[in-house]
C-alpha cells in the first residue's frame, strides 16, 4: 500500500507546474553557476601561479633575513570545489587597502544558494498542500476511508515528495558534476568525488527538513492558503533572518576589545618600543666595548659598512673584536624582541580568546536555523569554509616551524663562510623546503561537520514527529 501512495505522490507532483518550473530553473541555474564559477576558478589558478613565481623571482634576488615575512609564508591555492561552492570570499577581508567590497553587496551565487533558496522553496511548495490541500479537494477523505493507516499515508507522502524533489536536484547536480568531470584542468581525485557525494547527501538532508516543515504546517492548518503563508513565514525566519542576525547578536552579547587598538598596541610594542629597548640594550654593549677597547673601538664604530669589510679581513685582531661585538649586539636585539614579543603576545592572546568565544556564540545561535547548519556542513565538507581557513592556519604554522629551522641552519652556514654576514645580507633560499598544500583528509572534515549534520537530522525528526502527531489528530472532513 505504501508504495502505491509513494507512486501516486510522485505522479501527482511530476505533472504539476511547480515541478516543471522548479526543474527548469534548477538545471539552468546549476549549469550556468558551474560554468561561470569554473571560469572564475581558472582565473584564480592563473593568479595563484603568477603569485608563486613572483615571490620566487623576488626571493632569488632580494631574500634577506630582516624582511622575509610575510612574503615567504605559504599561500592557499584555489579550492578544488570552487566551481560548486564559493564559501567564504577570499579577497573581501584581507586588511588591504584594496579589499574587494563587491562580495559584501552581492554574495556570490553557487550550489549553496541553489540548495538553500531554490530547493528549499520548492520543497515547501511541494508539501504545503499535501494535507490541507487534499482535505480541501476531498481526496484525503477518500484515501482515509480505505484500509490504509494514517502513518503510511504520511510516510508515503514524505518519501514520495522527497523523491520527486530529488529528481530536479539530482539531475542538475549530476549535470554539474559531469561538466566538472569533463574539464581536463579540474583535478578532482577520488576524495573530491567522495566529498561531492557527501555534499549531495547533506543537501538531501537539508531539503528534506523543509519538505517536512511544509508537511507539518500543512497538517496543523485547515486550508492550503493558510498553510502556504505560514510555511513561507517560517521559511523567511529560518533561512533569511535568523542566520544573518546571529553574528550581530553575538557581537553585542560578547564584546571584544577594539581590534584596531590591539593591533596598534602590538605594533607599538614590537616596533617602536622594541627599537627603544633594543637601542638601550645595544648601547650597554657599546659602553662595555668602549671601556674594554677604548680608542680602536671608537675608530671602528666610525667606519662605514664597506670600509669595515676591507679593514676587518686585513686585521685578525679587529676581526675578533668585530665578531664578538656584532654577536653581542645581535643578542641584545634578540633579547629586546623577546621581551616585547612576550608583552604583545599577551594582548593578542587575550583578543584571540575573546574573539573565539564570540564566534562560538554566533555559531551556536546560527545553529538554530537549518540554513546555517547546512551552510557549515556544506562549506566544511567542500573545504571552502571556516574549518578549512583554520586548517590552513594550522599547516602554515607548521610550515613556519620547518622554515625557521631551515633559516637558522642557513644562517649558521652563511656566517661560517662569511663573518660579515648579517640579517641584511642576501641569502640564497633556492633550496628551501617548499610548501605543499594538502587538503585536510575527508574523514577529519566529516568528523567536524557531524554536529551540524546531526542538528539537521534532529530538525528532520522534530518536524516529522510534529507532522505525525498533527496528522493523527487531523480532521479529514
Amino acid at each position: 500500500m505504501l508504495t502505491t501512495i509513494i507512486f501516486k505522490e510522485i505522479h501527482d507532483n511530476i505533472l504539476n507546474l511547480r515541478f516543471i518550473v522548479g526543474f527548469i530553473l534548477c538545471v539552468l541555474l546549476t549549469l550556468s553557476c558551474v560554468m561561470i564559477l569554473t571560469h572564475d576558478y581558472r582565473q584564480e589558478v592563473k593568479d595563484y601561479g603568477t603569485r608563486i613565481s613572483q615571490v620566487d623571482d623576488f626571493l632569488g634576488k632580494y631574500a634577506h633575513r630582516n624582511r622575509l615575512y610575510p612574503l615567504i609564508l605559504p599561500q592557499k591555492p584555489p579550492d578544488a570545489f570552487r566551481p560548486l561552492m564559493v564559501g567564504i570570499p577570499r579577497d573581501a577581508d584581507l586588511g588591504s587597502f584594496d579589499d574587494n567590497p563587491l562580495p559584501a553587496i552581492f554574495p556570490p551565487l553557487d550550489l549553496m544558494f541553489i540548495v538553500t533558496i531554490i530547493m528549499s522553496l520548492l520543497a515547501i511548495l511541494f508539501s504545503y498542500d499535501a494535507v490541507s490541500g487534499e482535505r480541501e479537494s476531498g481526496t484525503l477523505k477518500l484515501i482515509s476511508s480505505n484500509s490504509v493507516s494514517r502513518a503510511s499515508i504520511l510516510v508515503g507522502k514524505w518519501v514520495g515528495g522527497t523523491i520527486s524533489l530529488l529528481i530536479p536536484f539530482l539531475f542538475s547536480v549530476l549535470a554539474g558534476g559531469l561538466y566538472i568531470a569533463i574539464q581536463p584542468d579540474l583535478p578532482w581525485d577520488t576524495s573530491a568525488w567522495l566529498s561531492f557525494v557527501m555534499l549531495v547527501l547533506a543537501s538531501v538532508t537539508f531539503i528534506s527538513v523543509f519538505y517536512l516543515l511544509g508537511l507539518f504546517v500543512s497538517a496543523v492548518t485547515r486550508s492550503a492558503a493558510v498553510s502556504i503563508l505560514s510555511s513561507i513565514f517560517l521559511w523567511v525566519l529560518l533561512v533569511l533572518v535568523l542566520p544573518n542576525l546571529s553574528p550581530f547578536l553575538a557581537a553585542q552579547l560578547k564584546r571584544i576589545p577594539s581590534v584596531n587598538k590591539v593591533n596598534r598596541e602590538v605594533f607599538h610594542l614590537t616596533q617602536e618600543e622594541r627599537d627603544e629597548v633594543g637601542r638601550k640594550l645595544s648601547q650597554q654593549v657599546r659602553d662595555k666595548y668602549q671601556k674594554q677597547y677604548g680608542k680602536p673601538f671608537e675608530d671602528y664604530l666610525a667606519l662605514a659598512e664597506n670600509e669595515i669589510r676591507a679593514r676587518v679581513s686585513a686585521d685578525p685582531q679587529l676581526m675578533a673584536m668585530h665578531e664578538s661585538f656584532r654577536k653581542e649586539v645581535d643578542q641584545a636585539w634578540e633579547e629586546a624582541n623577546r621581551i616585547q614579543g612576550e608583552k604583545a603576545r599577551k594582548i593578542q592572546e587575550d583578543l584571540k580568546l575573546k574573539a573565539e568565544s564570540q564566534t562560538r556564540l554566533a555559531r551556536q545561535l546560527a545553529c538554530l536555523s537549518p540554513y546555517a547548519d547546512y551552510a557549515f556542513t556544506a562549506t566544511d565538507i567542500s573545504g571552502t569554509g571556516m574549518r578549512s581557513l583554520r586548517y590552513f592556519e594550522g599547516i602554515t604554522e607548521e610550515y613556519s616551524g620547518v622554515l625557521w629551522d631551515y633559516l637558522q641552519k642557513k644562517e649558521v652556514a652563511a656566517k661560517a663562510r662569511d663573518p660579515l654576514f648579517d640579517e641584511n645580507s642576501f641569502i640564497d633560499l633556492g633550496d628551501r623546503p617548499r610548501f605543499e598544500y594538502r587538503e585536510e583528509p575527508l574523514r577529519a572534515r566529516l568528523k567536524g561537520v557531524l554536529p551540524y549534520w546531526g542538528v539537521l537530522l534532529v530538525f528532520n525528526c522534530i518536524f516529522f514527529a510534529g507532522a505525525f502527531v498533527a496528522f493523527i489528530r487531523y480532521d479529514v472532513r
Partner: protein, 419 residues
C-alpha cells in the same frame, strides 16, 4: 466607484490571515533590524572615537554614518583607519568584524536587506491571487457584471492592495526611525532627513515594481496556486540570481588581479628599494628620500592600474545586474545612504590624496612618519553628486520597471477570461 473598490480591497486585506502574517513579519524584521544595526553603529562609533588620530598621527579615518543604521552597505569598510607610513605605504586598520568569520558567511540584516528580499516577497504574496484568486472564488465575474471598467477595477485593486502592504511598512519604519533618533548618538540634520525620506520613497518604488509584477503574474495565470509558484521563482531570480550572478559574470569580462597578488607586489616594491639602499654606496638622507619617492610612485602606479581595472569591473557589474530591479534598488539605496560603491571609490581617492599631502615627511626607524599633520577631513558625497553619478539612472530604471510591470499587468488583465 474607484473609492469603493479601494475600500473593499483594503477591508478584505485587513481581515485576512495574510495581512496578519505579513504585518507581523514586518514588525519583527523592521524592529530587530533597526535595533541590531543601531547597536552595531554604536560599536563602530565607539571604535572610531578610540582611533581618532592626534595631530602627530597621519591617519585618515571616516566616522560611521548614522544612515548606516538603515543601509549598512560598506560602512564598516569605509570606517577602517588608513595610516600613512614611509614611502606613502598605507596601513589599513582591521574591521572589528574581521575576527569573526561568521560575518563573512552571512548577509547583513539591515533595512536594505529586509526591503530587498523580504518585503519584495511580501509584495508578491499580497498580489499573487489578486486576480486569479478572485476568478477562482467567482467574485471577479460578479464585479465585472456591474458597470465597472476593467481599468478602474485594476487601478482600484492595485491601490488598495499596495496600500495594505505599504502603509504598515512606512508606519513601522517611521516609528523605528523616531526611536533610533531618540538616542543622543544619532543626530539627524535636514540633509539626513531628506536622504531618509528619499530612501523610503525608493523602497516604495521598488516594492511597487514587485507588486505590479505579482498582479501581472496573477493576471496571466488561471489558478492562484500556479501564480504563487511563478511569483516565488520570479522573486528568487530577480532578487538573488541576477544581481549575484551578474557580479561573478562581470569578472569574466574584466580580468582583475587578486588582492593577494597586489599585496605581494606592494611588499616587493618596498623591500627591493630598502635592500638596494642598504647595500648601496651612499647612505645619505637624500638617497633614502629618493628611495622613498620611488616606493611612493611605484605604489601609486600599482594602485592606479588596479583601481582602473576594478572600477571598470564595478561599472560592468552595475550594467549587467541592473536588469534586476533589486540591483538597481541596492545601488540607489546604498549610494543615497553614503555607504555604497560610489562612496567607496570616492573615499579611497580622498585617502590617496591625503597620502600625497603627508607622505614625504621624515620617518623614524620603525617607518612611522613624524611631524604635525593637518587632520584628514572627508565629506560624503552630496545628494546632487549622488543623483548625477548614477542615482538618477537607478531611479529611472526602477520607474521604468514600474511602468513595464504595470502595463504588462494592465494588458494581461484586459485580455483575462474572468469565467
Amino acid at each position: 466607484m474607484l473609492g469603493t473598490i479601494i475600500r473593499k480591497e483594503i477591508q478584505e486585506n485587513l481581515f485576512s490571515y495574510r495581512f496578519l502574517v505579513i504585518t507581523l513579519l514586518t514588525v519583527v524584521l523592521v524592529f530587530t533590524s533597526l535595533l541590531v544595526m543601531y547597536r552595531d553603529y554604536q560599536l563602530r562609533l565607539e571604535n572610531y572615537e578610540l582611533l581618532r588620530p592626534t595631530s602627530s598621527q597621519p591617519v585618515a579615518i571616516i566616522p560611521p554614518s548614522p544612515l548606516s543604521i538603515f543601509i549598512n552597505g560598506l560602512d564598516a569598510n569605509l570606517g577602517r583607519g588608513y595610516e600613512i607610513r614611509f614611502g606613502g605605504t598605507i596601513m589599513v586598520g582591521s574591521k572589528q568584524q574581521s575576527v569573526n568569520t561568521l560575518f563573512r558567511m552571512f548577509t547583513t540584516p539591515d533595512l536594505l536587506y529586509v526591503v530587498k528580499a523580504v518585503m519584495a516577497l511580501c509584495a508578491l504574496l499580497f498580489a499573487f491571487n489578486a486576480i486569479s484568486g478572485e476568478k477562482e472564488s467567482g467574485t471577479i465575474r460578479l464585479l465585472l457584471a456591474n458597470r465597472l471598467g476593467r481599468t478602474e477595477l485594476l487601478i482600484g485593486k492595485w491601490i488598495g492592495g499596495f496600500a495594505s502592504l505599504a502603509v504598515p511598512f512606512v508606519l513601522l519604519v517611521l516609528v523605528g526611525t523616531v526611536l533610533v533618533t531618540l538616542s543622543p548618538q544619532v543626530q539627524f540634520g535636514p540633509d539626513e532627513w531628506l536622504r531618509l525620506s528619499l530612501l523610503l520613497a525608493a523602497a516604495l518604488v521598488y516594492l511597487a515594481v514587485f507588486y505590479s509584477l505579482g498582479v501581472c503574474i496573477s493576471a496571466l495565470c488561471r489558478r492562484s496556486a500556479s501564480a504563487l509558484v511563478i511569483s516565488l521563482f520570479t522573486w528568487a531570480v530577480l532578487v538573488f540570481v541576477i544581481p549575484n550572478l551578474g557580479n561573478i559574470f562581470a569578472r569574466q569580462l574584466v580580468e582583475v588581479p587578486s588582492v593577494q597578488s597586489l599585496e605581494i607586489r606592494r611588499q616587493v616594491i618596498w623591500i627591493k628599494e630598502i635592500f638596494e639602499f642598504i647595500h648601496g654606496q651612499t647612505r645619505s638622507r637624500e638617497e633614502i628620500q629618493k628611495r622613498m619617492a620611488t616606493i611612493n610612485s611605484e605604489n601609486d602606479r600599482l594602485i592606479a592600474d588596479y583601481r582602473g581595472l576594478f572600477n571598470s569591473l564595478v561599472d560592468k557589474t552595475k550594467e549587467i545586474s541592473r536588469i534586476s530591479p533589486a540591483a538597481a534598488y541596492t545601488f540607489l539605496a546604498t549610494d543615497l545612504a553614503g555607504t555604497g560603491l560610489l562612496e567607496e571609490r570616492r573615499a579611497k581617492q580622498a585617502v590617496l590624496e591625503y597620502k600625497n599631502l603627508v607622505w614625504d615627511k621624515p620617518t623614524d626607524s620603525s617607518g612611522k612618519i613624524e611631524g604635525d599633520f593637518s587632520a584628514f577631513s572627508y565629506q560624503r558625497s552630496s545628494l546632487r553628486e549622488i543623483m548625477a553619478q548614477g542615482g538618477l539612472i537607478n531611479l529611472a530604471i526602477l520607474l521604468l520597471f514600474n511602468t513595464i510591470a504595470f502595463s504588462a499587468a494592465y494588458v494581461a488583465f484586459l485580455r483575462y477570461d474572468v469565467r
